[in-house]
Amino acid sequence: MYRIASRKVLNPSMIQLEVEAPLVARKAKPGQFIILRVNEEGERIPLTVAGTDPAAGTVKIIFQVVGATTELLKYKMEGDFLQDFVGPLGLPTHTEGIRSVCVVGGGAGCAIAMPVAEEFHRLGAEVTSIIGFRNKDLLILEDEFRSFSDELVVMTDDGSYGRHGNVTVPLKEMLEAGKHFDMIITIGPLIMMKFVVAAAKPFGVPVTVSMNPIMIDGTGMCGGCRITLVRDGQRVTKFACVDGPDFNGYEIDFDEAMSRGRMYAEYERHAYEEACNLMQKNIAG
């Protein structure tokens, strides 16, 4: 069992937990993820490591309430325990030789993008961050991004905070103005990452995308997290859990990944509604 050392509500649907898992805290690097189960019957869900405190033995995770499992996780408070917590999984984000980087995060993906920006900042690279949210209420981690970035642009879809529009707008402006990046790293909804790749393509800037497919074991056993890359005209199957989660954005078959991500959409909707109903009954009862 893994104790929750602290809990913080970041916005109406996003929560940050620090979980006591000393072995994971010692090893985890930006870009890697963990898998947890809330309770004995629970499903295994992957969540990206948002930071570690090796001395305290804690691992920070940030999650958005999107389905039945995260709905259950929402009710776990400081001092409560999680059934299982295993990691670090996947390969760390590649940082070697990168002197200037543009980190593009969208929505919940900013929770993953933040430690990446922090790592590049720590390594002395020039960090430009572009973070986007649907509206002001959903904004998270602005202070953190500001402290790790040489330049920060905040975007909202409805213009309620920062600049109005999506993250590709300032990215294109910067590239058109001749700004150089050794690498663009983008983390967020698949559709956003697809457009970031399209925006960067005319400028030939390498783009790394962080994939978050459905997975079960996370150790290279089930094959559920497979991703298709198109490399030199050939379709190549890779596994996000052991080969990723970071991939070359120009090689990803995004349409396929988006389709696969919706495999259990219908099931999830029912399960989520049931979890919500159950919680309401418990509260009412």
């Binding site: 090893k27 019957e41 295993v86 150790t219 056993m221 199957t237």
Partner: protein, 470 residues
């Protein structure tokens, strides 16, 4: 007294009933039948059955104890050689191992003694009736780490613990058992039995640490720094193979590993599971091994209307155990032999890109095959029959064509040599290219059987004892 030439049948659930539930198919011998079956054993001098067993269980002796109705005595004899008797009695391919060597069979052309069924009887009798707990032996002060709580790791740990070693098993998943838990379905191997065998090892003093991935959470080198004197790697089979045909990324296409893990480990077969699985409709399983049989029979029990097995060779070459194939046929699985998939077909509504059915499987294109000349494996090579393509309608396709070894440990252990296919290279004692690092099971051989993995765990335990225990 004349020997009954026929092996006693084991009572089983009727096919039409069991095809719709997850309870165990074969029900085990009642005591009277076990006694009669035991009496068929000639207790012959040269004991060929023992050498047919990968862990060399003293078979005639345990059967003699059954004859004397000393079932606990029989259990003690089996456990001298096997740490998982209730498991082996169920999933070993006895027909190609101990029973294939039985004198009744070889000399007298009768059915062999039902050794596997008797082993299962003894183990089940012990689990149901015995209060005896194993006493942990005095510690010899030596510490050994075992990577993976599957058949090879559990066996290696058990053998070492019985000699007084302090053994810690590190398991990546949240439950110990490896393939016995995530792979082999409840109806063939109830999970309570696996849990009981793991419990017995814990009573012997073995520690089991779940949620630790060697190669990630800790490395092999760190295990030595922590004071372990030897490490046994039994990390199991790895990434599932796919066919590299169009359509394998469609929704509704699973690897057998994923399908079985969802059902077995994550209990998606229960009512209102937390972990989803596609069920019902028409299911096509590609492959002919035991894993393919398990996937097909699981799909049936999850409520499929129709389940096909598509295999590119003929029944003769089909690698699954005969008993599993017979069970599958009785339950109504439709075998499409000498067929090979060429493409998986999916739904796409040209009018509506948001149609929720878009991207789901609708069928599988196959081509008929005929057998040509034998290939390197000695099996006749299947050759496509031109113009023989046809389509099977399907909602789910499960690919069960094997796995490749997991790269996590190889990638983080300097000096650990692997072969061309990624399997860890060992010598005849289970020793790898690294000092005091041993390996066995699927991590070495690629997908094989539970008992051969157990045999490998046993060989390594002996070698570790000779290397550090002397």
């Amino acid at each position: 007294m004349a020997v009954n030439p026929v092996k006693h049948e084991m009572p089983a659930q009727k096919p039409e009933v069991r095809a719709r539930n997850f309870r165990e198919v074969a029900l085990g011998y009642p005591m009277e039948i076990a006694l009669e079956e035991a009496r068929r054993c000639l207790n012959c001098k040269n004991r060929p059955c023992v050498s047919g067993c990968p862990v060399n269980i003293n078979i005639p002796d345990f059967i003699s104890r059954i004859k004397e109705e000393d079932f606990e005595g029989a259990y003690r004899i089996i456990t001298q050689s096997s740490s998982l008797p209730a498991v082996c009695g169920r999933v070993c391919p006895q027909e190609t191992q101990c029973e294939s060597q039985c004198t009744l069979h070889v000399r007298a052309k009768m059915d062999p003694v039902g050794i596997g069924r008797l082993e299962r009887f003894v183990a089940d009798w012990h689990n149901a009736n015995s209060q005896e707990k194993p006493t942990p032996p005095a510690s010899n002060g030596h510490r050994v780490a075992v990577v993976g709580a599957g058949p090879s790791g559990l066996t290696c740990a058990g053998d070492l613990a019985k000699k007084g070693y302090q053994v810690t098993i590190y398991e990546a998943l949240h439950t110990a058992g490896g393939v016995l838990i995530y792979g082999i379905p409840e109806f063939r191997l109830p999970k309570a039995i696996v849990a009981k065998e793991v419990e017995t090892l814990k009573e012997l003093g073995v520690q089991v640490e779940t949620n630790v991935i060697i190669g990630k959470t800790l490395t092999v080198d760190e295990l030595f720094e922590m004071g372990f004197e030897a490490v046994f790697i039994g990390s199991g089979a790895g990434l599932p193979n796919f066919m590299n045909i169009p359509g394998e990324a469609l929704k509704g296409v699973y690897s057998a590993n994923e399908f079985l893990t969802r059902s077995n480990l994550m209990k998606a077969y229960e009512e209102n599971p937390h972990t989803p699985i596609m069920k019902g409709g028409r299911v096509v399983v590609v492959g002919g091994g035991n894993v393919a049989m398990d996937a097909a029979r699981t799909a049936l029990r999850l409520g499929a209307e129709k389940v096909y097995i598509v295999y590119r060779r003929s029944m003769e070459e089909l690698p699954a155990r005969r008993e599993e194939v017979e069970h599958a046929e009785e339950e109504g699985i439709d075998f499409r032999l000498l067929c090979n998939p060429t493409e998986i077909l999916g739904y796409q509504n040209p009018e509506d890109p948001r149609d929720p059915k878009n991207g789901f499987v609708t069928g599988i294109r196959c081509i008929r095959m005929e057998l040509g000349e034998p290939d390197a494996s000695g099996r006749r090579r299947p050759v496509e029959v031109p113009g023989s393509e046809f389509t099977l309608e399907a909602d789910t396709v499960i690919i069960a064509i094997g796995t490749s070894p997991n790269p996590l440990i190889k990638n983080t252990t300097e000096g650990l040599e692997v072969n061309r296919r990624g399997g860890i290279i060992i010598n005849e004692e289970g020793l790898t290219s690294r000092e005091n690092v041993y390996a066995g099971g699927d991590a070495v051989t690629g997908a094989a059987t539970v008992i051969s993995a157990m045999g490998a765990g046993k060989v390594a335990a002996k070698a570790i004892h000779e290397a550090i225990g002397g």
